[in-house]
Symmetry: C2
Subunit: 118 residues, 2 copies
């Protein structure tokens, strides 16, 4: 029960929904998220952690990068319809659509952040 509450709590925040929206597009490192959404590194890191702790994300480390992505398998096991619910809840939203546009450009922005991990 606590896990269910935690899961919904993780989803009940605008920033975290925007992050989830990015990750529905592709795997991202912390600084891609922070640049794309225009939030602080602190905020990006903390909110990614919250989504991770709630069981929505998986983490892959590659050198300096912490690469977060949707944990498709975990989601299907514990919250079968939830990821779809989120996707549909966000579709058509303006902010979220703009974020997706920004994400495309963010790949080349910043001091080395969006370089491909070697």
């Amino acid at each position: 029960m606590r896990d269910v509450v935690k899961a919904f709590k993780a989803l009940s925040d605008k920033t975290r929904l925007r992050i989830l929206n990015l990750l529905l597009e592709k795997e991202c490192c912390v600084c891609e998220v922070m640049q794309t959404l225009g939030i602080s590194q602190t905020s990006a890191s903390r909110n990614l952690s919250a989504l991770y702790d709630a069981g929505f994300l998986k983490l892959r480390k590659n050198g300096l990068w912490s690469l977060y992505s949707i944990d498709q398998e975990g989601m299907k096991e514990y919250f079968p319809d939830l990821i779809n619910a989120v996707r549909k809840a966000l579709e058509g939203n303006e902010v979220v659509a703009m974020d997706r546009e920004h994400l495309k450009k963010a790949e080349r922005i910043g001091p080395g952040c969006a370089r491909q991990p070697s």
Copy 2:
């Protein structure tokens, strides 16, 4: 977007998930909820309101009773998969199963509360 956040926020509370579980069984008045879950009238009323404001419930007044139930149509329109996600997230949970048992008995408990509205 604010609506989506509000919806998930409404779901990110143990009491409200338990209430939703009861309403998945049947339409309930405030005092059935408060008795079944063993919470205060204030808490029952306010948490039902929160779920109502988030768009999950519909309200039918009958005499003194405020009868809340799942707004199936509204849910399908705005959050197509969410009600299923909630249902599956709660299934197998002990507290929630016990609540459903208590609900059956609650119909005859209390000073006139669970009498059928005239």
